[in-house]
């Protein structure tokens, strides 16, 4: 059975709030949550946030309901892009497990689909979509394994936002035919979270089929996580890392591992 994931839980400075959210997510049956750090450009030099270690929050991570494993917590960076210069894949991005982008213009949406090195493209749900989603860039994004995200929390907060959410979600699912869509919360409080089966049902309202709606909270999210892991590798084939040197050697060398023969294969370890 596929595990459920919620790949968008807002980061909060308040530790008790964040702790509460993660505990509620575990209780509702989510096996993985991703804490979201948003990067918005107000001035030229915006500092990229650093992910906080989860172990600051918990000594022991809460156990997922119905499973005997504890919950996995990932870090995710969301870049709000209003200008092409806003998305610059730097070394800071590599500290995050997932990278998402919110394109604000049609041009940026196209660029995000075609060549941004991201895992998730968020379609802004709390405002009117200023552009039409076109099929050609979406198809390229699907080919590249980039996923589109619908977040449902705005729909819970307010009836106007609910209208925008549903209409934006419907226009997205119509274009991508239910493929490569994930539904996540974007919750800032524990009470805004909903159970995975509720969301699978809500996906039907967003224009997904029953199976696609369930995939949107389970298998598609898993694909996103795996895609996130390939970001640190070259084409998902080669992974280079610094090897800690013995004390008597001063020179540092990059150790390169390469898998030979056979078709190109991901050498990152697939979990579960």
């Amino acid at each position: 059975m596929a595990l459920f994931m919620d790949l968008n839980v807002s980061f909060s400075e308040d530790k008790t709030v964040l702790k509460n959210i993660i505990e509620t997510a575990a209780h509702l049956g989510y096996s993985t949550v991703a804490i979201n750090y948003t990067l918005e450009f107000h001035h030229k030099k915006q500092e990229i946030p650093k992910p906080r270690p989860v172990l600051d929050l918990f000594e022991k991570l809460p156990v997922v309901q119905g499973k005997s494993k504890s919950i996995t917590v990932l870090n995710r960076l969301t870049v709000v892009a209003t200008d092409p210069s806003h998305f610059r894949p730097t070394a800071e991005y590599k500290a995050f497990d997932l990278v998402a982008v919110i394109p604000k213009t049609e041009k940026l949406f196209q660029a995000a689909c075609m060549n941004f090195d991201v895992n998730i493209i968020c379609v802004a749900m709390s405002e009117k979509l200023g552009f039409f989603i076109k099929r050609a860039p979406v198809n390229v994004a699907i080919e590249r394994g980039v996923f589109f995200e619908i977040s449902y929390t705005p729909a819970i907060r307010d009836s106007t936002l609910r209208r925008y959410t549903i209409s934006n979600a419907l226009s997205l699912t119509e274009i991508c035919k239910g493929k490569n869509v994930i539904v996540s919360s974007g919750a800032e409080k524990a009470i805004e979270l909903r159970g995975p089966y509720d969301i699978a049902n809500l996906g039907i309202v967003f224009g997904l089929s029953t199976e696609d709606a369930k995939d949107a909270v389970s298998t598609n999210c898993r694909s996103v996580c795996l895609h996130g892991k390939t970001r640190s590798t070259a084409f998902g084939i080669i992974h280079t890392m610094k090897k800690s040197q013995p004390a008597n050697k001063t020179e540092e060398e990059d150790e390169e591992e390469e898998e030979e023969g056979g078709p190109p294969r991901k050498i990152i370890k697939l979990e579960k």
């Binding site: 729909a155 819970i156 009470i191 979270l193 159970g195 509720d198 049902n201 309202v205």
Partner: protein, 129 residues
């Protein structure tokens, strides 16, 4: 299943098979309020759900019947019965219900089943020793 009388005979079972899909679905739900308030009557509870359905689907889309079969005021849990055709609508309306009297709230759907008997126990709440 029917248990045989307490005689020495081996237990007798009766097998029942549903030929057709059940007409109704039953949902066991719980209401969680952020304020921790507990004084919501059964009428108010149903009114809350009806208005949630109407908020999301309007007068026409929200015109389907559902029943509150039982309601526990102290725990704020209830069992609802709804025709299959209205299940998705009712469930999504419950999911998107976010506030009660301008206070945040959430509906936790605990179990959904076409058989009322299935709601009598929940394997996820079992304490296994």
């Amino acid at each position: 299943m029917r248990r045989a009388d307490a005689t020495e005979e081996p237990a007798a079972f009766e097998r029942r098979v549903y030929r057709n899909a059940a007409a109704h679905h039953y949902m066991k739900i719980g209401l969680v309020l952020e304020s921790g308030e507990r004084n919501i009557g059964a009428v108010q509870f149903k009114q809350l759900i009806v208005s949630a359905v109407r908020d999301l689907y309007g007068e026409v889309g929200g015109a389907f019947n559902f029943d509150v079969l039982c309601y526990d005021e102290s725990a704020l849990t209830a069992v609802l019965r709804v025709y299959n055709s209205g299940l998705v609508k009712l469930w999504s309306a419950l999911t998107l219900l976010g506030s009660y009297k301008n206070k945040l709230c959430a509906v936790r759907v605990m179990q959904v089943s076409p058989f009322l008997l299935a709601l009598s126990g929940n394997s996820r709440e079992l304490d296994l020793d």
